[in-house]
């Protein structure tokens, strides 16, 4: 059985976590067997900053640089992406794996 959880577009990370957990609890109480591994990433959704220095470099990638090569492959979809965290990555990964193998 596949369960769809509606998440509002403007939901922040904590909302997403809470919504998933509430939904899972609800279905669990109904006797639905949950096969998806649970990963509690609530404490990991903030941008990771274990560095001693937080300032990022501002210059644009040089021509023929590694960054330039990646951006050329990305084409129209090359853009800076923000709000990155290990927790977000794990969520994305779980979703990808769940879509592929979990159903």
């Amino acid at each position: 059985m596949q369960i769809t959880i509606d998440i509002e577009d403007n939901a922040d990370n904590k909302d997403v976590v809470n919504k998933i957990l509430t939904s899972l609890e609800k279905y669990k109480n109904q006797g639905v067997k949950i096969r998806k591994p649970l990963f509690f990433y609530e404490d990991e959704v903030d941008d990771d900053s274990n560095s001693k220095e937080h300032k990022g470099s501002k210059q644009a990638p040089l021509n023929n640089s590694v960054g330039d090569t990646f951006n050329k492959i990305l084409g129209d979809y090359a853009r800076e992406r923000v709000n990155v965290s290990i927790g977000e990555d794990r969520m994305l990964l779980q979703k990808a794996l769940w879509d592929r193998y979990g159903q």
């Binding site: 990991e44 941008d47 990771d48 900053s49 274990n50 560095s51 001693k52 220095e53 937080h54 990022g56 470099s57 501002k58 210059q59 990638p61 640089s65 590694v66 960054g67 090569t69 990646f70 951006n71 492959i73 990305l74 084409g75 979809y77 090359a78 853009r79 800076e80 992406r81 923000v82 709000n83 990155v84 290990i86 990555d89 994305l92 990964l93 979703k95 990808a96 794996l97």
Partner: protein
Amino acid sequence: MQLVFDTNVLVDALLSRGHYYKHTLELLEAVKEEKIEGWVASHSISTIFYLLESTLQQDIHNRKEVQEIVSKLIYELLDIIKVIPQTAHDIKISLKEFESDYEDYVIAKIAQNYLPNPIIVSRDKRFDGAVNIDVEHPVDVKRLLENQSRQKIDFANLAKQQRKIIPEIEKNIHRVITKCNFIMGDEITQLEQKLQDFTGAKYAITCASGTDALLLAMMAMDIQPDDEIITTPFTFIATAETIALMKAKPVFVDIEDDTYNIDATKIEAAITHKTKAIMPVSLYGQPADMDAIQAIAYKHKLKVIIDGAQSFGSTYKGKTDSNLGDISTTSFFPAKPLGCYGDGGAVFTNNDEYAEKMRMMRVHGQNKRYHHKYIGMGGRLDTIQAAILLAKLTNYPEEIKQRQAVATTYSEKLDSSVINPITKEERSSVWAQYSIRVKDRDQVQNKLKEAGIPTAVHYPMPLHLQECFQYLDYKEGGFPVAESVSNEIMSLPMNPFLTEKEINAIVLSIHA
């Protein structure tokens, strides 16, 4: 130092993500320029794929298009950084030992297993630290690189060479193992063709070692007991040992004071009615005076066997030394300029008869299965060694240039307190060794040892003074140049990857 990139920082760099992606890009740029080594665990690739795919699906709805872009990105990435191999054993050990995160643990474990000085580059504060390994944020790695102290200088640095070509080595070894063609497999034929192309010799025949190559050459020439073969006393034992194994007599001739190769001007005086061949050695990678030697051989109807164990790829008047003489030999011993991962060698000739005989003789003299035309030997090169050599041969021309550049830098920087090796005009050396002469060798070696710089002596005792050749009745003082050089010679680290900074450190220690 080898950087092992964690999944998160690579996805950042590939997608311009987060605050620190430019720092990772700078590190990747340094890897691309070969200023530092960059690696990724094979384990991480599928994770990177899924993360890229999931992220891009937020922008692109056509899944096929997403997958094409993701494949291209990872393919491009793997042109810059290399993949750390991973075995089932690594997986099982990691499953047993990991504490908090299996994937992190595998990355750390294989990094430690395969790399000498790895540092994990990660944004993950909770990277599984069960393995005692340094984990650094991309911002801090840059600072670490700027402040890094000098790494240990490696003499031959085979490990770095292997890390540079590990995908080809893995692929080639795996192919042999899968096909189970361990003896005389396709790779032998492929290698021999490539060796012929590289050297210009009509025939290249691989064999089990440089020593077997010399034996095969003399067997093909039908060298008999009591025949005499003229050679140098300043070489590795195999040169004269194989002559003795054939029950022939090694006849030594002193060496030149500058190239340390056999002195051609002294050969004729050593020729007798028993002399059958001259065996010059291309010591340290440079051919001997081949025009003079060939002229003497022609005049006295002698054969020439070149012991090119150290000189594969060197040239004399534009020809490789494998394409000179009646038969030329080489060694693929691991520390040789072109080395395999065990013993290996080859013989080269333009003579049809010699080629046919040596092909048979390396397989017990057989001309067809269980039919033996000659007394031969089990002298075949293993297929797996041929597979390794095929992977290494691709980079070899570049490595020769790098060795020559290292030698030039040494020569420019070392002062007159040492005697530098020289390369004669119209010859090139592949610099198997960079050997200098110093008056107080023990003292210089000790100074270098204290500075953590390895050295070696090639060779401390000339062959005419070796116990095993006492029966030849040579005396001390018989070959004064060889004796003098053997007292003063010492080899410095020589490999294609020595940096100018490392050479400066070596030179500074010598001059101190």
